[in-house]
């Protein structure tokens, strides 16, 4: 591939010390990331899949410079951000934006939607025009008068649209979505997935999409990295990983996903356990 690299992660390690449990023993350490390396090309849709506790959120936080690595490097658009002080991270805050899982806890309940969307612009010293806010509301499929209301007046799917509008405000080139549809109803999930997909195409964004649901990743992403216990166990094109998983963990993960097609052709719950043993 000749596309330039958007995000490069090299041998990333993150250890968390836990509170001491004994006076005479050192504090126990949680190894959240044990040497993770990956490369996301510009304009690519990259998925990260894994179960709770596998380190996928820690990885995202370090890529977004919300957390510091114990060792290893993260290079975003050619700049190593791992040791940069906060004041020199401004380029990252403009170029890389996040959408979180729970829009209720990531939107300030006391702010009007138009102020929420304008905040990233204000913080970075750009003029926050009403025009830009209206444009963003329209881009995510909300009516212009939505700007006058508060987050609690919206449904879950609409709140996620507001988060997306906020993320797009500073015209980022990289969008990171952390389980953006996990809290949504099925009929609304499809709308939000379509919206993300359309925006990524229109704005030529690089997308990093994190989910525990491989079927969602498969629909959205070109390539996927499968994480387990702080390590990437398998990387590949989503179609290939889904159809022919190589690593035993991926095999177990893929076979555990209930699908309509399999169920209608007679699969039972014991078939979900078919490969590998119980965890």
């Amino acid at each position: 591939m000749s596309e330039p690299t958007a995000i490069q992660v090299v041998d990333l390690v993150r250890d968390y010390p836990r509170p001491r449990t004994s006076l005479f023993q050192p504090a126990p350490v949680v190894h959240a990331l044990r040497g993770v390396s990956l490369e996301v090309k510009q304009g690519e849709r990259f998925g990260i899949v894994g179960e709770s506790g596998c380190g996928k959120s820690t990885l995202l936080r370090i890529i977004a410079a919300l957390d510091r690595a114990t060792s290893g490097n993260v290079i975003v658009e050619g700049t190593d951000i791992t040791r940069l002080p906060d004041r020199r991270l401004r380029f990252l805050r403009e170029n890389l934006q996040l959408v979180f899982q729970d829009p209720m806890s990531s939107l300030d309940p006391r702010m009007r939607v138009r102020d929420i969307i304008a905040e990233p612009l204000v913080v970075q010293g750009h003029p926050a025009s009403g025009e830009r806010v209206r444009e963003l509301l329209e881009a995510v499929g909300l009516s212009a008068d939505a700007g006058d209301r508060y987050p609690h007046q919206f449904s879950g799917g609409q709140r996620q649209r507001i988060s997306i509008a906020r993320a797009l405000a500073p015209r980022p080139r990289i969008l990171i979505a952390d389980e953006p549809v996990s809290a949504l109803d099925v009929s609304v999930r499809a709308q939000v997935l379509n919206l993300i997909s359309d925006l990524v195409d229109e704005l030529n964004l690089t997308l990093v999409f994190v989910s525990h649901d491989l079927s969602v990743i498969k629909h959205v992403c070109d390539r996927v990295a499968v994480m387990n216990a702080g390590q990437i166990v398998e990387t590949g094109y989503t179609g290939d990983v889904y159809a022919a998983p190589q690593h035993p963990y991926t095999q177990r993960l893929v076979s555990a996903i209930p699908t309509l097609q399999r169920a209608l052709s007679g699969a039972t719950t014991s078939d979900l356990l078919a490969k590998g043993d119980a965890p």
Binding site: V186, A190, L253, A256, A263
Partner: protein
């Protein structure tokens, strides 16, 4: 085959807001029935009304009968209901931590279920508790553990062991695996299905996940806006949906399409009590006409039917 659970004309309301209307539901002995719907569809309230666990100032009407119980369950007093709960009907909730007593050892909690209903004497109950925990594939040390020492999946297995303790004729599961990882979900689902099959218990399984229902259940009821909009055998409802909501839901959850865009249902699920009159789906339905302002009649039988003025699967008029 006699019916274990018979629900007729169930309605649930808070003050003047109808949350569930006219739900008819039967579960045959040993049958596995799924209840699917999105948030606000009334599926959990339906289950809670069967158990008589509705919050205060939420009232149920209609009829709920259980095989082997000679009185009506709706409006039965607490003394009678507590004799039925945990013995004839057991329930597994979504959040296992709130369903377990944090100050009691796991083994004692499972044994307590049998002691309260006097189905086994103390010594036999302890032994039975150990067997049940083994059945849900928990190591024997778990008996002496407290709930906070277990993971989410382990806790849910304890709750399942508790629910199966008195061989209930009906097990109700309300989103039992929604909070769990897929590999753990696979194990818990398998344990639930094997648990009810070994006891010939009936299962009422509530979820929003179509694929899970299709894997676990034989028959399914689709709820939307507090009404049952369609019911039938899983294979039929999911391959030839008749109600427009079922059709839309199936299309929206089909992530295997080759196109980048998914088929969507326009709009949002209205908040509880804000569903339109007449057909509850008409504000989001592409096929809605003036006719849909009238509540559609149920077409077909209870085992296979739907409530829609413009059903899918026939030539559009």
């Amino acid at each position: 085959m006699s019916d274990v659970l018979t629900v007729r004309g169930l309605s649930v309301k808070v003050r003047d807001t109808m949350l569930v209307s006219d739900v008819d539901l039967t579960v045959g002995a040993g049958e596995r029935v799924g209840l699917i719907g999105e948030s606000g569809s009334g599926k959990s309230l339906t289950a809670l009304s069967v158990l008589g666990l509705l919050p205060e100032d939420v009232h149920a009407g209609g009829s709920v009968r259980l095989d082997g119980v000679d009185h009506e369950l709706i409006g039965a007093d607490e003394r009678r209901m507590s004799r039925i709960r945990g013995r004839d009907i057991a329930m597994v909730f979504q959040e296992p931590m709130t369903a377990l007593n944090p100050t009691m050892r796991i083994g004692d909690q499972v044994a307590e279920a049998m002691l309260i209903h006097k189905t086994r004497p103390k010594s036999a109950a302890d032994a039975a508790a150990a067997d049940l925990l083994e059945l849900v594939q928990l190591p024997s040390e778990t008996r002496r553990a407290y709930p906070h020492q277990l993971s989410g999946g382990q806790r849910q297995r304890v709750v399942l062991a508790l629910a199966l303790a008195n061989d209930p004729s009906l097990l109700i599961c309300d989103e039992p695996t929604t909070a769990l990882d897929v590999t753990v979900q696979a194990l818990v689902l398998d344990l639930i299905v094997r648990g009810v099959m070994d006891r010939s218990s009936a299962l009422l399984f509530i979820t929003h996940d179509l694929a899970v229902v299709a894997t676990v259940c034989e028959r399914v009821l689709v709820m939307y806006g507090g009404r049952v909009v369609e019911s039938g055998p899983v294979g039929e409802v999911f391959t030839r949906p008749r109600h427009r909501y079922t059709e839309g839901l199936l299309a929206a959850s089909d992530l295997d399409t080759n196109s980048r865009r998914l088929t969507t249902i326009p709009g949002n699920v209205p908040p509880a009590g804000k569903f339109p009159s007449g057909c509850v789906f008409r504000t989001r339905c592409a096929h809605a006409t003036a006719l849909c302002e009238e509540t559609p009649e149920w077409s077909g039988t209870e085992a296979r039917g739907f409530a829609c003025h413009h059903p899918a699967g026939v030539a559009d008029v």
